[in-house]
Symmetry: C2
Subunit: 247 residues, 2 copies
């Protein structure tokens, strides 16, 4: 039986991939994925059959991958970050019953919550919530409820998909909701293009985050009541949510 | 200036480490960590100076690592999973001001939420909360509030540190709280020894999870209202939280 691997490649740079993901991509004959992600890694895996589909063609992408596996290939369906966090693992497993000849294996990767946190310092050292602001597949009211619940229970929050061209004001909307519960000086951070060309990061207050321009490749971090901005000798700031150790 | 890397090595098996983590551990002269984690990887990095401290000696571990860096070594402080999720990154950055001669870099890894999810299927495909049941450093009432908030807002939940010898009934206590809000047949899962010898997993209802015996090396997943157990041709079940794609 041929295998369909759903592979999280981490934030994008080759070195962020797990050794296992690297081995599996080397061994597969076919790599399938969203165009942008396949382009990030194709030069490291020459001689593969590459199949790409644009954004919003997720179901088609999974079907392509299954068809290639049923045709006798080992196939890797590539996800950025982790395969199981807003990735393709769920849709693949929902469709798997239609392709009994392909065996599915999920290969985890480093998700943006972890890779972005490492750029900023340690904002997710304590309990945290991960929330996507994309309302393509989720009613906004549900997203809003989750923001409210996370703020009320003093979770640190990591926000995926904070903004896009069509949803330019969504991060500001989220900040306004959070500001109903959290002080303006709550320590926040944002990282753009994690582990890719043009990586930038900023540490700022929730009040300032309200005016921050995020894009599709930004991950946003909201601190909890204990989160601090710690200055370093070099003038850089670290965003740190203490776990509670006695210093 | 010498560097102190805080390195997440993933769940434990060598292949789960990122290529970057592997390179950094190869390049460092000194590896520092909790005894169990250092033992997991030391055979892959021969010829290193190894310094270990037992559990609950986290501050001492960080100080040891800084002292080695200030003495002129490149040092890797090893964390299981991700360095920034209940790892050592936060404590290191809180102490960094005392060791201005050492430059700190955080190297992320695959946390148990991702690696455990991949074993079960795709339980964290939608918004989720990560909660530790350890009340060593956190008042139980705060943990309880977070469980309530997560259940009320229909987050999937990933539970770290569900149990230990001294906290044998904590997972059951958490389940009882969740059952105030969630139906007994909510789909849940648990994975023991992720990516290590003796890895086992189970998919079960929240009602059954109440009686499940977790240990220190278990990660627990509570589905949201949409989470399903999908049977495969081979008789295995997958735990899947749909993101909402039209099938």
């Amino acid at each position: 039986m041929k295998k369909l691997y759903v592979v999280g490649i981490g934030p994008g740079e080759y070195e962020s991939m797990s050794i296992r993901a690297q081995r599996i991509l080397s061994e597969c004959q076919v790599l399938v994925g969203y165009t942008v992600y396949v382009e990030l890694i194709e030069r490291y895996f020459p001689g593969k059959r590459l199949l790409t589909t644009p954004m919003r063609r997720e179901k088609e992408r999974c079907q392509l991958a299954f068809q290639e596996a049923e045709a006798g290939n080992d196939v890797a369906l590539i996800c950025s970050g982790d395969a199981g966090v807003y990735g393709m693992a769920g849709l693949v497993l929902e469709l798997a019953g239609q392709y009994p000849q392909a065996e599915v294996e999920i290969v985890p990767g480093i998700t943006a919550a972890s890779s972005g946190a490492a750029v900023l310092g340690a904002p997710l050292m304590h309990d945290f919530a991960v929330i996507s602001l994309s309302d393509l597949l989720t009613p906004w009211v549900k997203i809003e409820n989750r923001l409210r619940a996370a703020a009320q229970a003093d979770f640190a929050v990591c926000i995926y998909n904070p903004s896009s061209k069509k949803r330019a004001d969504y991060l500001a909307r989220a900040c306004r909701i959070l500001l109903e519960y959290l002080p303006e000086d709550t320590v926040c951070g944002a990282v753009k293009n994690i582990g890719r060309e043009g990586e930038t990061s900023v540490i700022l207050s929730l009040g300032k985050l309200l005016e921050y321009e995020a894009d599709m490749f930004t991950t946003v971090f909201i601190g909890n009541s204990q989160t601090k901005a710690i200055p370093t000798a070099g003038g850089k700031l670290w965003m740190v949510t203490p776990r509670g150790y006695q210093l």
